[in-house]
Symmetry: C2
Subunit: 78 residues, 2 copies
């Protein structure tokens, strides 16, 4: 059974690097990866916050939030 | 050809969570993963710093450093 992986970003350069490296390095046979651009999909902000996401880029793996470097705080996207 | 992934940690709880989730989620068919405990392997600190690592846990993917959440600064491990 695959687990859920959601990569939240905002299109910033730090985000793009993390997406191309970390998110795309995940084992897709075990993780179902979704990429969410919080700047363009503001409706997903609440869901990201509920998962514990404070800044982007962030990767939520099977419900656990992992902040990868620092691009922008979520407040900057509201 | 597999790329190199090095996960640097210091045994802290934040590190353990990141290792079990992020490091172990990597696609091992594409990445050759090495786990380095910088508290126990202080000889590897210079190499980590040279790769741009500022704090642990950190993942260096194909030479690029990604800091995952924050456990401890490297200075605390010297």
């Amino acid at each position: 059974m695959t687990k859920k992986a959601v990569f939240y970003h905002a299109g910033c350069s730090v985000c793009v690097e993390a997406e191309q490296s970390v998110a795309h390095a995940l084992d897709r046979s075990r993780y179902n990866l979704e990429i969410v651009h919080l700047g363009q999909q503001k409706g997903r902000l609440k869901e990201a916050e509920a998962a514990g996401v404070k800044s982007v880029p962030a990767l939520v793996l099977d419900g656990l939030p992992f902040h990868i470097n620092f691009g922008a705080g979520l407040d900057a996207l509201k």
